[in-house]
């Protein structure tokens, strides 16, 4: 057994949350920068420039990238040989609360979906905990804004709809969403499993390294083709038209039932705040 100390666990989460709210991954920024170079629309180009300038200012640490500093989502892959000497969920939430207080981040969580009182701590976080072999803890952490989450969707397609159905549903949803989810986007698609599994796959898809390649050649090609088609929709940065609607499409799949083709679409706005930590 390997013990993970409470302090190390909490500090890692706090640091990741404060950092990601002020700085995006270099790979993501370089995609944005090349999109700005190739973008031909005048307004759309200026908006991409605003986004890049915003990143430059946020990196200095005074102002978070976006005022919506998100709801915290944590995928925790826990090695079976890891021992925690503390309560996992409550300790994680303490770390989130401390990060949002000390980092001057906005507390955007209400304690009840109907009565809607602010919890004042930005907790609880959403956790997805999985047991895996080994003695390490892998945390994939995201601070996810409301605007792009609101434009996300789950639909139960018919098996015969196939990839063509997925393509049509995706194009329709992104077109209808327009500027509201703050494009340029990362488009995460979850296919297969069941209702909730498809949504999890879509969320994991947006957390993938933006430069990775889908190991399945058919899906890799589908991701490429869909990216091109989305960028032909003329939605553009913040919906003002232009060629930069998405920076990447990621499709994650899982086996499913003979009668089902669950499809989930999770949109990630350009404030793509993710971090991976291995303890």
């Amino acid at each position: 057994m390997r013990t993970i100390e409470k302090k190390i666990f909490q500090e890692a989460i706090k640091q990741a949350l404060i950092e990601m709210n002020h700085e995006l991954s270099p790979a993501f920024i370089s995609r944005l920068a090349s999109a700005k170079e190739t973008e031909t629309g005048t307004v759309s180009k200026t908006i991409l420039d605003d986004i890049l300038q915003n990143h430059e200012i946020a990196r200095k640490g005074t102002f978070p990238l976006c005022q919506d500093t998100g709801m915290v989502v944590v995928f925790a892959d826990v090695g079976q040989e890891v021992y925690f000497s503390f309560d996992f969920e409550s300790t994680l939430n303490e770390a989130v609360a401390e990060a949002y207080a000390e980092g001057y981040l906005r507390k955007s969580i209400v304690d009840d979906p109907i009565h809607r009182r602010n919890s004042e701590t930005n907790t609880p976080a959403i956790t997805h905990i999985r047991l895996v072999p080994g003695d390490q803890l892998r945390l994939r952490i995201a601070a996810k804004g409301g605007g792009s989450e609101n434009m996300s969707t789950v639909r139960m397609l018919k098996p015969n709809d196939g990839l063509e159905g997925v393509r049509q549903e995706t194009l329709k949803a992104i077109k209808n969403a327009g500027g509201r989810p703050c494009p340029p986007l990362i488009v995460g698609i979850g296919l297969g499993g069941n209702l909730e599994k498809s949504a999890l796959l879509a969320k994991e898809a947006i957390l993938r390294d933006i430069d990775d390649k889908n190991p399945d050649p058919e899906l890799a090609q589908f991701e490429q083709q869909l990216e091109t088609e989305i960028n032909e929709l003329d939605v553009g940065p913040m919906g003002v038209g232009g060629e930069t609607t998405c920076l990447a499409v990621k499709v994650n799949t899982f086996p499913t039932h003979i009668a089902m083709l669950p499809f989930a679409l999770n949109l990630q706005c350009h404030a793509a705040r993710h971090r991976e930590v291995v303890l």
Binding site: V43, T62, P64, R106, G239
Partner: protein, 172 residues
């Protein structure tokens, strides 16, 4: 193009969808909860005539700063409640994203414009806010009504009074 509130009808008529504006002067903040209360308020204690309302819920200011990250929130949520404010003289709104047909009609009737600021550019926009003064409903925290003094605050005309739109979806 430079723009200074309060806005009169003549200035508003000249604005065209797609124009980039640099606003200097006063903005009034209000979002969901504040709109619910503002439409009931007979005397809000500040002038709505010619005002620009900014849909924003900033992050808390760090020590020594007036405000935290301050980008626009989605405007469609305020569509219904914005119309009574337009009839009381509000001439501009800043938010992000597309809005309803009813709201667009009201802009033409009342001669007002809808502006967008770059969504998610909260740090850039905050760096152009020089001062923040609480006006109303401080119990709402980040959703309270504030007066902001801004300098070269970058926005784009999204819907003008002539029925034109900046959005790609309206061009097809």
């Amino acid at each position: 193009m430079k723009l200074q509130p309060p806005l009169d009808r003549r200035t508003v008529r000249k604005l065209q969808a797609g124009d980039r504006l640099l606003i200097s002067g006063t903005l009034i903040t209000a979002r969901d909860q504040a709109h619910l209360r503002l439409v009931e308020e007979e005397n809000p204690g500040f002038d709505l005539e010619g005002a620009i309302i900014y849909y924003v819920g900033p992050t808390p200011p760090k020590p020594g700063h007036q405000i935290g990250s301050s980008g626009p929130t989605s405007a469609y949520r305020m569509d219904q409640l914005a119309i009574p404010l337009l009839s009381r003289g509000v001439r501009g709104m800043i938010g992000k994203g597309e809005r309803s047909a009813e709201l667009r009609e009201a802009l033409e009737t009342h001669e007002a414009v809808y502006l967008i600021a770059t969504g998610g550019a909260g740090a850039l926009l905050a760096s152009r806010i020089k001062k923040r003064v609480p006006l109303l409903y401080e119990d709402l925290g980040p959703e309270a009504v504030y007066r902001l003094e801004v300098e070269d605050f970058p926005c784009y005309v999204a819907y003008d009074v002539h029925g034109n739109s900046i959005f790609g979806s309206d061009r097809q």
